[in-house]
């Protein structure tokens, strides 16, 4: 700031203005998390998403109490009953209660959905962080491997792995995890690249923090938020992928009460007994929607500019 007065006027009369009485306007100490929470709950759609997911998880946990019948118990005298009477949602080709299978199906959906995204996150985050932070050849190698998995169509990859490992929940989780980590790795890498350039990281380095500490303490927390948000809406996509695998006959075992199996079985009854596939389809749509709304809500809460 150049010298203010152009040499004509003498300094103003009185010295510093005496402190005025009047209360200092108190600025409530708004911590970052409460602010995010406010923004999240202000968003009606996000709350709907959260509600759907909570209900889903509760139904999954308390399935044994909620389900009127044992989902695996067959009754060949009661096959293909229309909804109503003892079976609110009807029975399938083996006389099993559709409502109970739908309720137990939520278990598989929640387990597979979350577990596969967890697997993908673990792989994706570690590799993404390494690639982003160390760069150079580490980055190129990891990113090329990521390209391979990114280009490899998810369903085909999953099918091949399931053919290898046989059908079941674990193979499905692993195959979904293995083929979706690439997106997380890429996302995290770009986050790490941008955070790495930020001043507070240079400052930490200047203060002598070790590499590991910098990644753990500074880079990851800041980069993780967007990856977690992306992860949430991806759980929905993982559940849909898992149901598609069952639809193609390569998902979890056929007798397992799982939505994809039910739709696949119901598909033959289109136009004849639509209830066989409409209810499981509805379940998948609502679940997928729940995760997407939750994901969007989190994203908007964490990054208000997006609104």
């Amino acid at each position: 700031m150049t010298e203010l007065v152009s040499g004509t006027g003498e300094p103003t009369a009185a010295g510093p203005v005496p402190a005025a009485p009047g209360a200092e306007p108190s600025v409530a100490r708004v911590s970052q998390w409460t602010d995010i929470r406010h923004r999240f709950f202000a968003n009606k759609l996000a709350v709907v998403g959260l509600a759907i997911i909570t209900v889903l998880i509760l139904v999954a946990i308390f399935a044994p109490l909620l389900a009127p019948h044992d989902p695996l118990k067959q009754d060949l005298t009661q096959t293909l009953q229309s909804p109503g009477g003892a079976h609110w949602l009807g029975t399938d080709a083996l006389g099993r209660d559709q409502l109970s299978r739908l309720i137990y199906g939520s278990r598989i959906a929640v387990i597979v959905g979350m577990a596969s995204i967890l697997v993908a996150l673990v792989i994706g985050v570690t590799l993404g962080a390494l690639a982003g932070y160390y760069g150079r050849w580490v980055d190129t190698v990891i990113m090329r491997v990521a390209d391979v998995f990114f280009a490899f169509p998810l369903l085909i990859g999953a099918i091949v792995i399931i053919l290898l490992m046989g059908r079941g929940v674990l193979p499905v989780v692993l195959s979904l995890g293995i083929f979706t980590w690439a997106t997380f790795a890429r996302l995290l890498r770009s986050q790490v690249l941008s955070v790495r350039e930020m001043d507070f990281v240079h400052a930490a380095k200047a203060l002598g923090a070790g590499q590991g500490r910098i990644i753990r303490k500074h880079i990851l927390p800041n980069s993780l938020t967007s990856v977690l948000v992306y992860g949430t809406s991806n759980v929905g996509i993982a559940i849909v992928a898992e149901a598609s695998l069952s639809y193609l006959g390569v998902g979890v075992d056929p007798e397992v009460a799982e939505w994809g199996n039910m739709i696949s079985a119901g598909r033959n009854f289109m136009g004849v007994k639509d209830f066989m596939w409409t209810y499981p389809s509805l379940a998948i749509v609502i679940t997928a929607l729940g995760f997407i709304l939750l994901g969007n809500g989190l994203r908007d809460a964490l990054d208000p500019k997006m609104r």
């Binding site: 080709a93 083996l94 056929p254 004849v272």
Partner: protein
């Protein structure tokens, strides 16, 4: 995902049927060949065949084309009999090892070449040679010189000769009084000189034959095949002008055929299971519902030399534990019929109804008692494996539940793609039971009993892998002797009596656990076409039908 592969008698494509003892529906106008007007285009949908060249045509889709493009010595009938085609006479030597056929003179291929003994020899050698790598060459295994042709030592089979242009002589390496029945298979078709070897791509895609129809254009893969009437056909000419065959994807081919029939696009169609009750109610009254018991069977194949089902009583216990009627009524909506024999009902001369006592009715007490005697203790684990994507999921789960409930054992069911399932059955340590089905290539009990249950059909290779079709590893000397005795018996009735005894021996040992018959169900446009029926290969009798 149903109908995983195109084969008609594919291991249990869930096309199912209700066994009507006599061949059912359709206004049967005495099956005479010539009645009704000429002309018309018959339309139907099939899934992509493996081959339409007789050297490798194997499933019903492939045979539909070769059967109408070629005419062999003999022709199979729907009810398990054999009619003469180009063969005017047959003579067999006392020892059953030399066959002599005389061939109808004056018939030609659609390209004008004459059909003679030489064209039969050419056709058969073309299939047997090593480079052909034909899947169906094994039907000629009995002909002398076949092994040399297969191994590549020779390019022709020594057993074949043509004493004069229209006489074919066949020498066999072992006696077989039923060899003439085998020639009903299209692999025994004659071929013109222009056919060249089995790898002749042009011929594979548009074969030139001597049948009632000939190809129009070439095989449009995954799209269509078109046949037109062969006007200078040697025997009774066909009435239809043209047959338009659409090739549908196997994932939902059955649904597409049914939709096609409903929308009037197809004259012949299969139906998906769930639509059957509605379809039957709608089309049976109008006579467009064909139900026919075909020459195929669905079994549970137990591994008889290893594991929990090693003991015959354990196998019988499992058979008693299964409530076939409940499964048929529940899962298959009453459209299947339970089977109580190894040989299909369509072999009317040898059919012994209720031969399998444990199949007639579920008997929980007897099942528990036999299980105890057979060492099948509660809590032991039995494996049941099946191939995925062919609609077995439901009934296998039903069988699993019933066996577990009745015998208190633990049944572990695993679905696998075809190749893995077969590898599982073949590997030395195989145990438990497998979903299994078998269709006859030609109408003779031998075609069931020999490949499935004869000790020679186990055919273990160096490291104990079962490469033959007797993967149940059933071996009973008394059964083998009966079979070879039957093969050595010239007269038909004598042979049938021996086959019946052999079947009884096998069923007493529970070598295979019969489940339900393979009755075929079709929708047929009988409003537009007269004499429309299903032939031995479960295809429409295209050569005989005519416009109304």
């Amino acid at each position: 995902m149903r109908g995983a592969s195109s084969a008609k008698w594919v291991a249990g494509a869930i096309v199912i049927a209700l066994a009507a003892t006599a061949c059912g529906g359709g206004d049967d106008d005495g099956g005479s060949k010539g009645s009704g007007k000429a002309g018309g285009t018959f339309r139907m949908g099939i899934t992509e065949p493996v081959a339409i060249d007789p050297y490798n045509a194997q499933e019903s889709e492939g045979t539909l084309v070769t059967d109408n493009l070629f005419t062999g010595l003999y022709e199979p009938t729907a009810d398990g009999k054999v009619d003469a085609a180009l063969a005017t006479s047959k003579k067999v030597s006392k020892d059953g090892k030399t066959w002599t056929f005389t061939i109808k003179k004056g018939t030609k291929f659609s390209n004008g070449e004459a059909v003679d003994a030489e064209s039969f020899i050419r056709g058969w050698n073309r299939v047997a040679v090593k480079t052909a790598a034909s899947d169906v060459a094994y039907h000629m295994a009995g002909i002398a010189g076949f092994a040399d042709a297969q191994s590549g030592k020779a390019t022709t089979m020594s057993g074949l000769s043509a004493p004069d242009p229209y006489t074919l002589q066949v020498k066999l390496s072992a006696p077989d009084f039923e060899f003439y029945i085998k020639t009903t298979h299209t692999v025994f078709s004659p071929v013109p000189k222009v056919a060249g070897d089995a790898k002749n791509k042009a011929y594979n895609e548009a074969p030139i034959g001597n049948g009632p129809f000939k190809m129009q254009g070439k095989w449009e893969h995954n799209k269509s095949i078109t046949l037109v009437r062969n006007d200078d056909y040697g025997l009774t000419k066909a009435h239809l002008d043209k047959v338009q065959i659409d090739i549908l994807n196997s994932a939902n081919g059955v649904t597409l055929e049914y939709q096609g029939f409903e929308s009037g696009q197809y004259d012949w169609a299969r139906m998906p299971t769930p639509q059957l009750p509605a379809a039957k109610a709608k089309y049976d009254p109008q006579g467009e519902w064909i139900q026919q018991d075909m020459s195929g069977m669905n079994y549970l194949m137990p591994i008889t030399d290893n594991g929990p089902l090693k003991n015959v009583k354990a196998r019988e216990a499992v058979s008693y534990a299964i409530d076939r009627d409940a499964i048929i009524k529940g899962v298959f909506q009453g459209m299947y019929t339970k089977s109580t024999t190894i040989l299909p009902p369509s072999f009317t001369d040898v059919y012994q109804k209720d031969l399998c006592t444990s199949c007639i009715k579920q008997d929980k007490a007897k099942a528990k008692q036999l299980a105890a005697e057979g060492g099948l203790k509660p809590g032991t684990t039995i494996e049941i494996a099946y191939n995925t994507g062919a609609g077995h999921e439901e009934w296998v789960q039903a069988v699993k539940q019933q066996v577990e409930d009745v015998l208190g054992v633990k049944v572990k069911s695993t679905g696998k793609p075809f190749a893995e399932l077969l590898a599982d059955q073949q590997k030395p340590g195989a145990t438990g039971m497998y979903r299994f089905a078998w269709g006859a290539d030609y109408p003779t009990p031998d075609n069931f009993l020999y490949p499935l249950l004869d000790t020679a059909s186990i055919n273990k290779d160096a490291n104990g892998k079962v490469t033959g079709d007797n993967r149940a590893r059933y071996s009973n000397k008394k059964f083998d002797d009966l079979l070879s005795q039957a093969r050595g018996t010239e007269d038909q009735a004598g042979r049938n009596a021996i086959y019946k005894q052999a079947e009884k021996v096998a069923l007493d040992d529970m070598a295979l656990i019969p489940l339900w018959n393979r009755t075929q169900l079709r929708l047929a446009n009988t409003k537009k076409y007269a004499g429309l029926k299903m032939d031995f290969h479960e295809d429409p009798n295209l050569a005989e039908i005519s416009m109304k």
